[in-house]
Amino acid sequence: MLNFYEVFYRFLEGPHISEMDYDLDFDQKLRDTVTKYGIKYDPQNPIPQDDQMADNVFAAGLEFYEKIGTYCIDTLRVATFTKREILEALAEAPSEPVFGTDKDAKKLIARPPESDLPPWFFIGAAGAAVTDERVLAAIVEGYGQVPYGNSITTPSITKINGRPIIAKTPLEVLGSIRTVEVSKAALRKAGRAGMPIMNAISTATSDAAKIAGSQFGLNPADGIMVGSMSELKMDFQRLNEVAYALHCGSNIVAESGPLLGGYCGGPEGLAVANVAYHLQSILVQRGTVHFTFPIHFKFSSNTSRNTLWSTSISNQGISRNSKFPLLTSGILASGPGTEMSFYENAARTITTCVSGGGILALGLAKNVQTDHLTPWDPKFSVEIALSTLGMKRQDANEIVKELLSKYESKIPEAPIGKRFQELFDMETLEPGNEYRELYYKMKDEMKTYGLKFAT
């Protein structure tokens, strides 16, 4: 595989192009590729079952990435890669990386569609905001207790010493450090000392804060998350993070968040772009795993029918053609403690699980409301996921259609639910009656759709 220096030199020496021209080029080439490969959205089937189309989506993504490359917003240059270079990277990409230490160490392996192996469970609300260290500690301890959890992502604290953390200031550096210190202690308390923290230290918006935070308890078997900018763009700040992580031998969680309705256009473009991100995450972000969260531009969540379809076909294409592991996140429109959140959670979890790869569970209330997260929402995702092992896409499709009918029309006005502190006891980490009853009621309802649980 091309080494990182060579990739970086391309950002210094590739052809100049204005950002808008790159964006429009992205749009045009993506459209052309979608047309060429005959990829067509099918609203009737949120989980498509056509292997040929899945492979076409993968082939289209490969061709598209070869044509478009990655843009660097600091140099205004494009780094492109030949088909041979991309295929070599794909062949040599990490396939069985180990995350975590001691008894919590585990191999993360790619998982094909309809697999009967449990997916990797990446627990947490992907950088959602919490008030302060107290809430952070409780939530992370709760995450550590989620059965079958393999790794976590920490929320972002937004206050330190009772005052708001402001991005790009020393408060952010300190907040980032405290996030790691508090989270590691909380995992130890949960009996999961070696459980890997696989996120970006989400309080950190800058490379400096992220690197500072990683000095206080993260080790290479955790993972430094390096995001791509939208769409298929990098800057020096993110490349600095890659350079740093490579030098410490750290796992890298290469993140992408392609947007339906933005430059990717509709669901077909989103699916193909997601494949391009998979390839970029090997070559440019130098990932140990690819973590992606396709998202709907109006709903800031990914449980709508078209985002489900897009995630499904894209995950199928990737999982059938790549051994570089993939994790996909769910972000719900509705918040904790609402009926709707259980329907959305189930639909999203089933879709990603039968389509291949591992799951991140779970963002709620679009991930934008402070303290709107609980450890039991990911616990529900885990239960649902385990009930789908070996399930056929066709059967999953029928269940997801039924679930969609319960929430689809409510997405634009989704209820934000309640805060963790309102639903759970912060000391015992147990849910109050309101939440507990709803949880078991919804679990019982899931049985009526044919899902089978161990208990």
């Binding site: 808008m20 964006d23 429009l24 749009d27 905001a129 972002s156 937004t158 708001p164 953390i165 402001i166 991005a167 790009k168 952010e172 907040g175 309080t203 918006t205 800058s206 900018m229 939208s230 800057d235 947007l259 309705g261 933005g262 430059y263 256009g265 509709g266 531009f297 109006k298 800031s300 679009k366 991930n367 934008v368 409301q369 402070t370």
Partner: protein, 217 residues
């Protein structure tokens, strides 16, 4: 070709995102001595409104908005010398200075807003992402902005919105501008708390609000 037909062509060119057609129609229009201001209003701007409507109902996406904007600009470029000659002033809804606040690089939501504002006749100056306090204020003054719009997608960058408003106040120029804020974690309560003139959850609502704020100027 009739005046109505040429104006219709201008409108169509925008909807079809066809820069060649728009330039042709604009030249045609000048040759025939048609009032360029009428052509802009009934042709180019009407086309932009139609594209904005298509976006709002999900029939097209961000790239179409950008291409429509470029087509509009190509048409205007042909017409501008004519307008200058006649000494008339092109009507505009307002001048909008927009950016994502310091520390924050989220771009696409702000870009959608910029494009939708253009479809409703605003002159938009998109300052980009990670925009500093001083840039917001100096650009707003320099460009004689009617509205300053600030996007923040991170809870930790929301304080930057407050900072800009406080700075405007301290400089004694707060009342020269209407200030709008938005982005995922932002809400009406925060807008009230920091004394912004408006908040909107979506770009669509933001455009309606911006037009309303223009009426209060």
């Amino acid at each position: 070709m009739s005046e109505a037909k040429i104006i219709e062509n201008l409108k169509e060119a925008i909807i079809e995102l066809d820069e060649v057609k728009v330039v042709e129609a604009a030249k045609n229009l000048i040759d025939q001595g048609i009032d360029p201001l009428v052509a802009i209003e009934k042709g180019l701007s009407a086309g932009m409104t139609a594209i904005g409507d298509k976006f709002n109902i999900g029939e097209c996406f961000l790239p179409e908005l950008i291409r429509a904007g470029n087509t509009f600009n190509a048409g205007i470029k042909v017409l501008e010398p004519e307008i200058a000659k006649s000494g008339a002033k092109q009507s505009q809804t307002g001048v909008f200075v927009l950016g994502t606040v310091t520390g924050d690089v989220h771009k696409i939501g702000k870009e959608i807003l910029a494009m939708l504002l253009k479809t409703r006749g605003f002159v938009v100056h998109d300052l980009g992402e990670d925009v500093s306090l001083s840039t917001f204020v100096s650009k707003a003054e320099e460009l004689n902005a009617d509205i300053i719009g600030m996007s923040a997608l991170l809870t930790t960058t929301m304080p930057a919105q407050k900072e800009v408003i406080e700075f405007l106040k301290e400089k004694g120029i707060r009342d020269n501008f209407r200030v709008m804020i938005g982005g995922g974690p932002v809400n009406q309560k925060w807008a009230d708390e920091i004394g912004a003139d408006g908040y909107a959850e979506t770009a669509e609502e933001a455009v309606r609000l911006a037009m309303k704020l223009m009426d209060t100027k």
